[in-house]
């Protein structure tokens, strides 16, 4: 009875929030519903016919669960998914309440939740998690969790709660060491195509030392950050052999092709979003889907038809000018985005940095992101947001000429001025932190453009 009331209250507050035009992914309806019935998430989640899949990790949670959703849809499953990225227990409750009927019934095959690392233990205690997918573990908002080791402990606790099988990134030593003693399935990148060899960058290297004995890992291959083929020379602890892997990865301007290997089978796969990090996201999703028993051909179809998410490689045309929005939030992800922008010397650039709680209040990470890649960029760079001045300092010390840095704190002005300076054959690269992205969404909406997830 109290569940039904909780669901009704949750739905009403969700509608009220929408009517008021407040931001997406709000936690309030979930908070209201949990207040009225603390067990509402559990009672709804247990009704999913095939159980709950959780996706956690620092980067790529949203994209990975987006890929999984796309595959599950191709496979004919009905899935409840917190696709707007509200990944705390309140946001997840809000998602499931919204999907339930007023009389407390949930009609779904799967619940697919991206889950904040710190929230995994509580979500695991309330829902029957069938598998936990972990993407990677980079330093992200350290001021929130304290330290990376703390994050690993939280993930282990969440995985152990249901003795959930763990689907882990073999190439990330921080992830591959998780869930010892649980059933584990590994995914990883085996090889890049011959003409696609990338230079080794160790800029955002996080933990390059063996967790077992403290010796430095040696790498045969580094893809980015600490991700690669590693082994400890001292105790021989090394990258686990992946069960699902990509070979011959060929990264194009707007899409990436690779051979997807699932056990003995091979499939030609293609994703329509750029960047090596998205290959990892696609692999994580493929491994999860394979674990759920979905056929390889269906997985490949699902990968191919996935559409981009809010603020992740989003392209739009405003006033006949091309905009490409790429969320930045930590050194590893940002370095990848900066690299893509640097590869377009004709492009214009707008970087917007806030330091609200959702961005991470400590902006030290700007110094670990490789803005040096923009040193030779020929066009001016506009910096905006609450910490625009810090961003300007960062660019100056990256070797970018200070006279070509324009500081415009107010984001709306910065955006409009930037668009005004973009030529017809140019792209405006916009790199916002999370709350800057939310602000951009509002500004663009007032100009008649909407971002996905809205």
């Amino acid at each position: 009875m109290s569940d039904n009331l909780a669901i009704l209250a949750g739905k009403i507050s969700a509608n009220a929030i929408r009517a008021l035009g407040a931001g997406l992914g709000s936690n309030l309806p979930g908070r209201v519903a949990r207040k009225l019935s603390p067990t509402v998430l559990n009672r709804l989640a247990v009704q999913s016919r095939s159980g709950v899949v959780a996706v956690s990790g620092t980067n790529g949670k949203s994209t990975t669960s987006g890929f999984i959703y796309s595959i599950l849809r191709r496979a004919g499953f009905k899935t409840v998914h917190n696709k707007q990225g509200a990944n705390l227990v309140t946001g997840i409750t809000a998602t499931i309440v919204e999907a339930a009927s007023i009389d407390g019934k949930l009609d779904a095959d799967y619940c697919l939740f991206e889950v904040d690392e710190a929230s995994l233990p509580v979500v695991a205690s309330e829902t029957p998690i069938k598998a936990v997918v972990v993407t990677n573990l980079f330093r992200d908002q350290l001021d929130r969790f304290g330290e990376l080791d703390t994050t690993a402990k939280l993930l282990n606790k969440g995985i152990a709660r249901n003795q959930s099988p763990a689907i882990l990134n073999a190439d990330d030593p921080n992830v591959a060491q998780l869930a010892e003693g649980s059933r584990r399935l590994f995914y990883g990148i085996e090889s890049l195509a011959q003409n696609n060899q990338q230079p080794i960058t160790r800029g955002a290297m996080e933990l390059s030392y063996c967790p077992k004995c403290g010796a430095e890992y040696s790498y045969d291959l580094i893809f980015y950050g600490q991700l690669g083929h590693y082994a400890c020379a001292q105790c021989r602890h090394s990258r686990p052999r992946p069960d699902i892997c990509a070979t011959d990865v060929c990264i194009g301007k707007s899409s990436t092709r690779f051979v997807l290997r699932i056990g003995e089978e091979s499939f030609n796969a293609q994703i329509t979003i750029p960047g090596l990090f998205n290959v990892y996201n696609a692999l994580a999703a493929s491994a999860a889907a394979a674990w759920l028993g979905i056929a390889g051909v269906t997985i490949v179809e699902g990968l191919k038809h996935y559409n981009t998410l809010f603020g992740r490689s989003e392209q739009l045309v405003v006033n006949n000018r091309k905009l490409l929005i790429q969320l930045i939030k930590n050194p590893a992800g940002a370095s990848q985005v900066i690299g893509s922008a640097a590869a377009d010397p004709n492009g214009r650039i707008l970087i917007a940095i806030n330091d609200n709680l959702a961005d991470g209040r400590d902006i030290s990470w700007l110094w670990d992101a490789e803005f040096e890649q923009l040193e030779k960029h020929p066009n001016p760079i506009v910096v905006s947001g609450q910490r625009a001045d810090d961003m300007a300092v960062r660019l100056k010390y990256a070797g970018f000429p200070p006279e070509r840095i324009a500081v415009t704190h107010q984001l709306e002005r910065a955006l409009k001025e930037s668009i005004g300076q973009v030529g017809p054959d140019q792209t405006l690269w916009i790199m916002p932190t999370y709350t800057c992205l939310l602000e951009l969404q509002k500004i663009l909406k007032s100009m008649g453009h909407s971002l996905s997830g809205t």
Binding site: D149, R202, Y209, D362, S364, L366, W367, D368, D389, A392
Partner: protein
Amino acid sequence: MPEAMVLRIAHLYAHFLNIYGDRGNILALSRRTQWRGIAVEVDPIGLGQAIDSERYDLYFIGGGQDKQQQIIAADLARHATSLRKAVSEGAVILSICGGYQLLGHYYKPHEGDELRGISLMDTHTVAGQRRMIGNVVVRRPNGSTLVGFENHSGKTFLGSAVEPLGKIVSGNGNNGDDGCEGAVAGGVYGTYLHGSLLPKNPALADELITLALRRRNSGVSLAPLDDAIESSAHKRALALPA
């Protein structure tokens, strides 16, 4: 200007204590020296490597995670004598957060054994109950300000043989109790400020560079730079909520 001045920097455990953007401090020291036409050499010093105390004018040691602290503490003990000698001969050390703690007498964690420091500074640190996280503003004895971001649970206490780097204007600082932040003993500096610290506090960067250069070039002083961008960032940071 003396001929071919060079500033030689040793970056201790560069690949290990690499969180919180401490790389920005090395960048600030290097760039600001180079912008004055003075050459810079930065050597990363890893675990097990030796330090040539004749060679370096400036040492930097940053912050790491708890697990790494134990490994570093054991390794750093090897360098205690050579670092002490270097400091007595005019070398400068900047230590931040975890590195700062290890230059003191000891670090006492919640559980487990005490981590021994190298007693280069008269300080000790005890694990605290809460994590002190947020923006910090410090006023130095000369009236100037420092801005940064702290993130630590260790509470550091100063003995009589060191001076605080400054007084807390906002934030927690060394221990959240006595209103002090950081420590200075001769050429040895310790602080909890990340941010990165030096790019936004160019006066402190220049102070360290000057002191370090004077080890080989007595009386040297630095030409002023155009710090408009750094000053704006500093001023904005003064007004940030703790």
